[in-house]
Symmetry: C2
Subunit: 283 residues, 2 copies
């Protein structure tokens, strides 16, 4: 597409009525894998950009928001996380953040499409900084099958770092999958699911809460944060667990690693629910 | 522009490398005033849309975020606000929110372009719900001149609800104007300025703090909130005053009017600064 002689990549949301474009210098790569079509662009102002089936996955410039929130929120909520499972997350950015926590013993990443990870290594090398950490384990297979076969009580945190709930990722937003997640988790275990836009996907967020409750999780909680390249620029994650009121605040305040967005104040702030979302947590 | 047979309005940011589009049903109105060109569209999913000189001003669907934050944040920060001045704000949405506070004695709106207000009355009538409140006063003139001529100590809060700092609004982001604002404000007075995107306008936000300090304000503080239709989907406001650590929390918790985004939790949450913005408030 051309707007004013600049070349743009545009993500078109026919249903949302929103389209979002980034100015492009050139396309660096494209391929069709057994699962999806992947494009990688060099943008003018957002660094590199990965697009899957026409939907923006991440940019160099703003992926820190998503990756830091998806990892540090559950990790500083859980009292003593040691064993982390990431479903999806093929770009390795969530894995990188998880492994910044020194007490982690293992971080298992289960991505269905190995090509996402290989392309991240080539085009987003900084996201893969911790791929050679001996605590990192990679499986390239279906997350739903992996979870169905994994032993009870084998994980402290499960991070569902998935694409949108259409096509292959649909099952990742439903009670049968969440029930297996609960079985895998230890008593204090926490599940976190990327849960789309608070502004435009409220019915989905409500359904995620319901499905998590059906799966037996006692508490569920939605947190929000900005995410420029996703529809509406405002995104959310939803936690499920036994007791989500915990927060290792002192540990977050004295964390030994650097972040670009996350800090203890941001953690608490992200928990504040706008008036129009109070329905998620009837008091 | 056409993308996939849908008609879209697109705001093109050549400098930011971002373009944002909304699907359009039809154009409802356009005119060139002595100050600017105004378009009004019916969108498919965001209600009505006002565009000035090609830049999105507001949509029915998400203007509540901006208007609630620009008004309730300073009004619940000030210990006893009675006299409010709004510079710009021609769509009357900020005025509507301000007048929800029962203790307000007068709210003066100084908009340079009367046509913005007349079009808001016609196309965004709900924003103008409080235009006939006897506490509302309208002046259609240059805000900089108005402030230069206004008497000392005549206002408790000044809300600068302006367009971007290019063209006519540029002077609204500079120390000479802020100095007049300070002169107008009572001792406990608070100035609030819309201060663009935390992600893409950091140098401007830093400069606003510096200009406010030059004008003699002792404290300055930036707060952030989502705003789908503005570049990056993440926006900010910057407060200036003598003591910004105040917050009438109990009053905010027991407010007598409804809001869609703002509440006491959101107020405190909006004050949390991401790591990359900590430079604004060196400790």
């Amino acid at each position: 597409m051309k707007l004013n002689n600049t070349k743009w990549f545009t993500e078109i949301g026919e249903k949302t009525g929103i389209a979002f474009s980034l100015a492009i210098e050139k396309k660096l790569h494209e391929e069709t894998t057994p699962y999806q079509h992947i494009d990688i662009y060099q943008t003018k102002t957002f660094g590199r950009l990965m697009v899957i089936d026409g939907y923006i996955m991440l940019s160099d410039r703003d992926n820190f928001l998503y990756h830091e929130m998806m990892s540090h929120i559950p990790l500083f909520t859980h009292p003593n996380p040691k064993r982390i499972l990431i479903i999806g997350g093929g770009d390795c950015g969530t894995l990188r953040e998880v492994l910044k926590h020194p007490q982690i013993e293992s971080a298992v990443q289960v991505e269905i499409d190995e090509r996402v990870t290989r392309l991240a290594e080539e085009y987003f090398p900084s996201l893969c900084d911790n791929n050679h950490d001996p605590r990192a384990y990679f499986y390239f297979e279906d997350g739903i099958r992996f979870v169905a076969q994994a032993p009870n009580n084998s994980m402290d945190i499960i991070i569902i770092d998935s694409t949108d709930p259409i096509g292959p990722a649909e099952g990742l937003f439903q009670a049968p999958f969440y029930t297996h997640c609960r079985r895998l988790l230890s008593t204090e275990g926490i599940l976190v699911q990327q849960s789309e836009s608070p502004l435009i996907h409220q019915p989905l967020i409500k359904s995620i809460h319901e499905e998590m409750k059906k799966a037996g999780f006692l508490e569920t909680r939605t947190l929000t944060y900005p995410q420029c390249v996703y529809p509406s620029g405002w995104w959310s994650l939803t936690l499920a667990g036994k007791d989500l009121s915990q927060f290792r605040k002192v540990d977050a305040q004295s964390k030994t690693f650097s972040t670009h967005y996350y800090n203890a104040d941001i953690h608490q702030a992200a928990l504040a629910l706008p008036e129009f979302l109070r329905c998620l947590h009837p008091e």
